[in-house]
Amino acid sequence: MLNKDISTSVKKKEHDGKVSGQLPYISDVKLDTLLYGVLYRSPVAYGKVRSIQLPPLPAGYEKIGAEHIPGNNFVKILKEDQPIFANEWVNYIGEPMFMLVGPELDILYQLLEQVEVDIEEHQAIFTLKEAIEQKDQAGIFASHEFGEDLDVIQSIEKNAHQVIVEEYETGYQEHVYLEPQGMLGIYKQDEILVEGSMQCLYYVKNALVSALACEDDEVRVIQSPTGGGFGGKEDFPSMMACHVAVAAKVVKKPVMLLFDRAEDMEVTTKRHPAKFKYRTALDKQGNILCMSVELFLDSGANAGLSPVVLQRALLNSAGVYKIPHFHAKGYALKTNTVPNGAFRGFGAPQSFAAIESHMGHISKKANRDSIEYKRNYMVKQGDPTITNGKFKDPVLLEDMIMDLMKVTDYAKKKAEYRSFNQKSNRYKKGIGASFFLHGCGFTGSGERDHIKATVKLAKTENDGVQIKISNADIGQGVLTTMSKIVAKELDLPYEDISFPYPDTKVVPDSGPTVASRTTMIVGKLLERAAKKLKEQWQSGVAQEVIEHYVHEEMIPWNEEKFSGDAYPAYAWGINFIEVEVDTLTGNVRVEKVYGSFDIGKAIDERIVKGQIDGGLVQGIAYGFMEKMTSKSGRIQQKSISDYGPPTAMDVVHIESKLFDNPYAGGPYGAKGVGELPLTGGAPAVQAAIEDALQISFYQIPVTPEYIIESLMKKAGEALD
């Protein structure tokens, strides 16, 4: 029985298969008559396709292109603008134009090299800067504006002591899930089966129904064990699924599409680069009178998920602060570069890096300690959100900050570092903090209007219970946490709950595995389903129960006006980070990392700790290590070491703490945890480096090059 506190950790369901390497990922699947696919990708950033010339194809090799797609030649994420095979126009380097399939990969790659395409090149837009300058001609995928009237802002600015104008930029981030993307299409008499590495089974299924123009029961999607996602396997796999499904249908054989690392890094979605422009009016004492922000996301060549990433970026543009007279405006802009998509945090990490940096810089202007300054503006329970929703649940930020200031001995440490830095010429030490939140679940009424989640529990005659949901375990522990919730409700041993990798033939659509929604939304539905099953329980009889999403009424969300409650609940976090900077090389050594989080209630403490550690390390690396760039439309980092994600030697022990704050709408009080821990890493590490060097930075990552440049600039200014 699972009589213990739900937070007490258990052995993960799939542990043995993973640790022994015997649980098959998609690349481990062996089939007779398996064919491989390789994609011919556009060598041009923007142009019109004139002709395609293939070399003679040996027997058993075929070209699969747009002409083979029975239905729509696009994957619709939000707009119908992602061609499955780009046969008329190409919009970015690497866009798939057609696929070659055949039995030998070596031969397929040789054939690819002999393809000749003629494309009429057009003037492309390569950078966010160009896209901002030409946004009215180039393309705006989405924009929103809300908050205080600009007239009011103008008159406040006129009477202000000073107006701080600041720009801030964030770069790409690459997921580097350890398992590259992979998808397998299997032709069967009465259906096309697609298996692969993915987060969202029904996104994939819906894309297949559209592309194959077939009935709902003619396609079937099974999730393979998935070697990491972080958002990278949210929207992207739908396209690959269409490629292998169309091909399998034509050749009537199984077709496998596996990316190698270089291909994965060059053509899959990434975190949106972003630019922020702030105008903040201050009074004589440095208090904020008003703030307006404009933010721009580089969407890449297709809209993809960018309009919703923009929403989350905007919703977090004031951070955890109640800013008087706040105004925000944002754009998702088109460039002829690889499309950007979902990445853990979904627009929020950019916004928090920016607002935390800006608030830190203002506090310096006001000659006040940044933590003390930020605390003056911190939201409290009952406060309005920036969209006139309401923070209706308790906000524990203040307690969390007080606690970490005590644990880190903040004031003493500040003084110690100041005196250390006075004595030390080369090495400088600093401490920085970040405060953040994450809105759990889909934005606004998305859960009610778009997702409409359904879950099932099936009981066998042997009284075993199977979980039927479409949510994917991608390493975050869904197989285990969901099983624990059901076991606890049914008073059954955890081992009696089975949760196979989901198959759309078997499981209903409980929504995608995104937005920190699985535990909170789907977990709650399972809790309710289990309660229902318990009431109806008849030993020795097969039974099935179904539960549907029920919307919790809030202040209604209006997407047009950008007003109302954007989220049902918020998870909160704070980080303190200590660094040592080598001013000779610009290298930063992270020495201490602290994190405190309110995620409601942990369903499994060890799993939550894993989310905190992993997310925070990704977030810290986003702030100072991981740099990806695009030049003339081409991603420059094609290998893992070009890009530079952290190794075990770049990381230190993380001291983390959970603050219980159960949320009535989540199972056992749980809120979302997947994305939150990444968000605070970058701003805290930037703040720590700024504290060490007494320099302000205006972009992340704060690389050694950027540090040295800034130090030289500072030295130059001192001489002037």
């Binding site: 993973k18 022994s20 398992e179 998935t226 070697g227 996602g229 700790k609 550690d613 990704q618 993380i654």
Partner: protein
């Protein structure tokens, strides 16, 4: 013919000497435990032991393994030492997506057999050739440290 020892058994192959060891293991011997994360020797997911040293099997042409003793996760997972590591990985919460884990276990085994009582720094260095994107490494470091204690005297 290239002859070598694979997971304790004498085997041979007629595959060309330029074939990568990882392909030989996965395609000819159907040993799926060794994963390919990059093919460039950068991620360590394909780590195996060659004559008791941990190596990236994606960088080794099989012409170089004549007479060598190759141990993969598929063979190692049948040992008592593996059970200790597996339990410790579970207890420490070291496994998330799992794709790096077979390679990480091989690197852990190699480290512990050479240094049965590693310090935290030595553990970090020992697995620095193996990337993990899920855990942030600390729970893996804890797992290895735990395994050193639990397997005291047998590493």
């Amino acid at each position: 013919m290239i002859k070598f020892k694979l997971n304790g058994k004498e085997v041979e192959t007629s595959a060309p000497p330029t074939l990568r060891l990882i392909d030989l293991l996965r395609d000819e011997f159907d040993l799926i435990g060794t994963k390919e994360g990059c093919g460039d020797g950068e991620c360590g997911a394909c780590s195996v032991m060659v004559n008791n040293l941990v190596q990236n099997s994606c960088l080794i042409p099989i012409g170089a393994i004549e007479c060598a003793d190759i141990l993969t996760i598929d063979g190692y997972s049948k040992t008592e030492l593996f059970k200790i590591l597996s339990d410790c990985y579970s207890e420490a919460g070291a496994v998330q997506c799992g794709f790096c884990i077979p390679g990480m276990v091989m690197a852990s085994a190699a480290l512990l057999s050479e240094n049965p009582n590693p310090t935290e720094e030595e553990i970090r260095e020992g697995i620095s050739g193996n990337l993990c994107r899920c855990t942030g490494y600390n729970m893996i470091v804890d797992a290895i440290s735990l395994a050193a204690k639990k397997g005291d005297g047998i590493w």
